[in-house]
């Protein structure tokens, strides 16, 4: 299934979710917290778009979900990165870095 690059924001959220899950399996709320925490609260995950994104990634087979028990003893849905997900994260990270580099170059350009 081809991924559209047009939706940068959506692509970014996917990347962030994959990265967060690459650290350890966790539930949806945990993913949001983790991203917020690592980015030092710069990146606020729109909580409403989180779950559609999780469903989408699950559909693509990059993450897998199963029900487990949370820290406060509640039933929660835990997500983990699959092997295809890991490869995807690798690939997406590279393309994101290339993209960032390109943007930086443009921004730092001096008048000739």
């Amino acid at each position: 299934m081809a991924t559209s690059n047009a939706d940068v924001l959506q692509g970014t959220l996917d990347l962030l979710i994959l990265k967060a899950l690459s650290l350890e399996p966790m539930h949806g709320w945990g993913v949001a917290q983790r991203i917020q925490q690592i980015s030092r609260a710069v990146l606020q995950v729109n909580q409403g778009s989180l779950y559609p994104a999780l469903r989408r990634l699950e559909d693509r087979g990059w993450i897998a979900a199963k029900w487990g028990t949370s820290e406060n003893n509640r039933r929660a849905r835990y997500y983990r990165l699959t092997s295809t997900g890991r490869a995807q994260l690798q690939q997406e990270t590279e393309s994101w870095e290339r993209f960032m580099l390109a943007v930086q170059r443009v921004l730092r350009a001096q008048p000739v």
């Binding site: 949001a32 909580q47 409403g48 779950y51 406060n72």
Partner: protein, 893 residues
């Protein structure tokens, strides 16, 4: 994702949808809980934590929706969900649902049934190749003003040889033939036969199913006797035997060899009186074997059908034939004086006569459908208004506008699909009733079935209606101010916006108006049929039986050389009358060329001493009768004497004239004693008899003369039997007597004259009954509309009325208020309907008798009836309004 996983995902999504839904719900709630817990830890109060968590999260429902969308199964899923939602919502209001479905189904059913008939009669093409090139060649007579008369054989040969516009030309005439089955002891049966020129099938473009068509050398006098039979006859009488070709069968007085089997469905619509048997269901065809001199030019005995050459228009053919007719007038001044030719495209003659009635019924059924749609729209609109709160809540909860529209659309679709299904069922029943009621004069009804085209139309209507329904509430929902709706909605107290109320009132007014149009139309027809039934037909129909028979020339010589001395023929007629009159229960019997309702044939004539007038005289009907005819049929003598048995072939030639003829040609009352000349003989008028309505009860009786059958003998006749009780009771005896006289003579055309009289106004009665049914239906629907609108208004205004009554308003005042609203709508509708009817009933004009389309009595009566009925429809809601308990209504707010 591989195809397998994709399918698996979808499968999972579909099968485990409920579980998935629940999981999603649980997951989102878990998230909210964690969020609240975090906020509590941060020091918020529980209430604030909950509120802010919910606010920051956004609309729960919408995210669930988006999650489902992300699954990629939404479209199908949503469709199913919409339909299920719609089903639930419709099931929750069974009264509303059943009324809407029934209303629409009745409209769709009525329209489909009528459209099926119209499709069969008007739209289904004739079964001929390039039927558009086929034309009928009628002769006409400027003196009589007739437009479609049969042609003469010599004229036909002139048309053939002296025109260039036809690729084929053929002539035919009815040739009823008795058929004696080979099985011993089997009764002879009368077959509907036709004598045709050899090019008949080539002209129509029809090929035999088996065998071959006639060869030119078989279509000459003295050629070997051959015949073509219909597929129907082949199946019913010859067990579909493949070796039928070449078999000899006894037809009439000769043995003929079957050379081919023709497909069923050959029809020639629009035949003139006397030729009607050619229209359809002909079972046997024989060669006409005509020559330019085989029949005199003044005898109009054949109908002519032609196939235009490619590229020749009917108008061009008309011009060429008109020129030829003018030449023939000069060449044959005696026979062809005032004669012209009328070229009529065959497809146009198909529906002449019945088209006005079908057009009226189609328009009526369309009106019923329109009323039904208005009613359904009205009910849906009312429902949409009461559902404002539901819609508002769902919008507030974040349901997408599109999904909402989809669900409303799904409801409309479900409703109209149910209505279409039920409607097709109603159409099938209605069609059966229609066919049972339809008079025989409506052509091509034999094979009517609801065909895919008609079904498609019903579904089309259903889809159209559902789209409208989908849109109406959507328009309202778009205009809806959520806050407003929620605030005002303490219950269902908020009243409808004035614009909506006005629209709904307009719908009801339109419904009433349309039903007024229909009821007035039905009223006019009912009054017409009443007047038609009241017309004195000029004879006594009750107790009168009619049968027909024909005597073959082989055993009953009928040579023109000895005319009118045909002793064996006359002896048969006389002996039959004598024996039938001797039966118990029989008062009298007669034999005549025509029964009292049959027009029969016309001939030109001279009044002796006034020969110069003949040039501008129309032809006169010649109704040859046995002297007992007047006693048997009950035709009154006005002046002079009746015929007697002494007026035989050797006595001086005499005749009677009817009052119409006496009035027209002898206005000074001196008809008796005058002489008329036709067929080479002067005949003295000895009496004047009453007018028989032989062109139908609605038509003026044309001039006619009655010579004694013994002086103008005929082989094909009607036997009339006047009985003391049940006419059909004597039938077995009459059959036995006839068989006794000649076992090969077949009796056919058996009917009581009472039935024949009803049949003669069959078209009007059929139209009247159907239009009556439509009018009742329309009235019922309109009243449901009035009742529904008022009931709804009462519900909407129950609070207002509660307050009014709490403040001391009399119950009667509230009662009157609702009644007044109902009557106002009805009276507006009646006024609009009367105006509409004045315009629309012009369609009916050709079906009316004895009154005009603007008949004052009908208009007043219908307006009164509808006013009364709508008052009744308003009473129930008004009574409900007065039953409102102020305390209860106000507490409910």
């Amino acid at each position: 994702m591989s195809l397998r996983t994709r399918i698996a995902t979808r499968w999972r999504a579909l099968v485990a949808r409920a579980r998935e839904e629940q999981e999603l719900d649980e997951e989102l709630h878990f998230h909210l809980e964690m969020e609240m817990a975090a906020r509590l830890r941060a020091g918020m109060t529980p209430a604030a934590a909950r509120r802010t968590a919910l606010r920051d999260f956004g609309g729960l429902e919408r995210y669930k929706e988006e999650c489902r969308d992300a699954r990629g199964v939404s479209l199908l899923d949503a469709g199913v969900a919409d339909l299920r939602g719609a089903w639930r919502s419709l099931r929750n209001s069974p009264a509303f649902t059943s009324v809407v479905v029934l209303t629409l189904a009745l409209g769709i059913g009525a329209t489909t049934a009528i459209f099926t008939v119209v499709n069969a009669v008007l739209l289904r093409p004739l079964p001929y190749a390039e039927a558009g090139r086929l034309v009928m060649l009628w002769e006409n007579d400027r003196n009589s003003g007739t437009t479609r008369e049969p042609a003469s054989v010599p004229d036909y040969f002139d048309f053939r040889t002296r025109t260039h516009v036809f690729s084929h030309l053929a002539a035919l005439q009815p040739r009823p033939l008795s058929f004696t089955p080979s099985a011993p002891g089997a009764d002879a049966v009368q077959l509907n036969g036709a004598a045709v020129t050899h090019g008949f099938l080539a002209t129509l473009g029809v090929s035999p199913r088996l065998g071959r068509s006639f060869r030119p050398d078989e279509d000459v006098p003295g050629a070997p006797a051959v015949a073509l039979i219909s597929e129907r006859l082949w199946h019913s009488r010859f067990t579909s035997a493949p070796d039928i070709i070449g078999r000899s069968i006894v037809l009439g007085d000769s043995t003929r060899t079957v050379i081919g089997v023709l497909p069923d469905g050959i029809e020639l619509p629009g035949m003139p009186p006397g030729f009607a048997s050619l229209q359809r269901d002909v079972d046997v065809w024989v060669p006409l074997a005509a020559t330019p001199v085989s029949s005199p030019r003044e005898n109009h005995t054949i109908v002519v059908v032609g196939r235009l050459r490619d590229g020749v228009s009917p108008a061009a053919a008309q011009r060429e034939l008109a020129a030829l007719a003018a030449t023939l007038e000069v060449e044959h001044p005696r026979e062809n004086r005032a004669r012209g030719v009328f070229v009529e495209p065959l497809p146009a003659s198909l529906v002449r006569g019945i088209r006005p009635a079908l057009a009226v019924l189609l328009a009526a059924s369309a009106l019923v459908l329109l009323i039904a749609c208005a009613n359904a729209a009205n009910l849906l609109l009312a429902r949409a208004v009461t559902r404002r709160r539901e819609v508002a809540v769902r919008l507030a909860l974040g349901a997408g506008m599109r999904r909402l529209a989809q669900q409303l659309f799904a409801e409309g679709l479900l409703l109209s699909m149910a209505a279409a299904t039920l409607g097709v069922g109603i159409a099938a029943l209605g069609l059966r009733a229609l066919l049972a009621l339809a008079p025989a004069s409506i052509p091509r009804l034999a094979h009517v079935a609801i065909d895919p085209r008609v079904l498609g139309m019903a579904l089309g209507i259903a889809v159209l209606v559902s789209m409208t329904f989908g849109l109406l509430p959507l328009v309202m929902a778009r205009r809806l101010d959520v806050q407003d709706a929620l605030r005002s909605a303490g219950g269902r107290g908020g009243s409808a916006a004035p614009a909506q109320q006005r629209f709904r009132n307009a719908l009801v007014v339109a419904e009433v108006a349309l039903s007024v149009v229909l009821v007035i139309g039905a009223g006019l027809l009912i009054r017409s049929v009443w007047s038609l039934r009241g017309v004195d037909p000029g004879f006594q129909a009750a107790g009168l039986l009619r049968l027909q028979y024909q005597l073959p020339a082989s055993r009953y010589p009928q040579s023109m050389a000895t005319f009118p001395h045909w002793p064996r023929l006359s002896a048969f007629h006389q002996e039959l009358i004598r024996r039938v009159e001797a039966m118990p229960g029989v008062e009298s019997a007669s034999v005549s060329a025509n029964d009292p309702l049959e027009a029969g044939f016309t001939n030109s004539f001279l009044i002796v001493g006034r020969e110069a007038e003949a040039e501008h005289q129309a032809e006169i009907y010649i109704r040859s009768v046995s002297p007992s005819y007047f006693r048997t049929a009950g035709v009154a003598l006005r002046r002079g004497r009746l015929l007697s048995d002494q007026d035989d072939a050797s006595a001086p030639a005499v005749l009677l004239i009817n009052e119409a003829g006496a009035r027209k040609y002898f206005p000074h009352g001196d008809a008796v004693g005058q002489q008329l000349r036709f067929w080479g003989q002067a005949r003295r008028i000895v009496g004047v008899v009453a007018d028989e309505k032989f062109e139908g009860p609605g038509a003026e009786t044309p001039p006619a003369v009655y010579p004694p059958l013994w002086q103008v003998p005929l082989p094909a006749v009607s036997l009339l039997v006047r009985t003391r009780s049940d006419p059909m009771g004597v039938l077995p005896q009459v059959r036995a007597v006839t068989r006794d006289l000649d076992p090969q003579v077949a009796l056919y055309g058996v009917t009581t004259m009472d039935d024949a009289l009803s049949q003669s106004i069959g078209k009007q009665r059929f139209t009247m009954r159907l239009l009556g049914a439509f009018a009742m239906l329309a009235l019922l629907l309109a009243m449901i509309g009035v009742h529904g609108t008022l009931s709804y208004a009462v519900t909407q205004r129950s609070r207002e009325m509660g307050i009014r009554m709490a403040l001391g308003a009399q119950r009667s005042a509230v009662h009157f208020m609702i009644l007044r609203q109902g009557m106002l709508l009805s009276l507006l509708g009646i006024a609009a309907g009367v105006v509409g009817a004045l315009a629309a009933t012009r369609l009916l004009r050709s079906l009316l008798y004895g009154l005009t389309a603007t008949d004052f009595v009908t208009y007043v009566a219908v307006s009164t009836i509808i006013a009364v009925v709508s008052a009744l429809a308003s009473v129930l809601p008004a009574r409900r309004a007065t039953g409102i308990d102020p305390a209860v209504t106000l507490r409910a707010e």
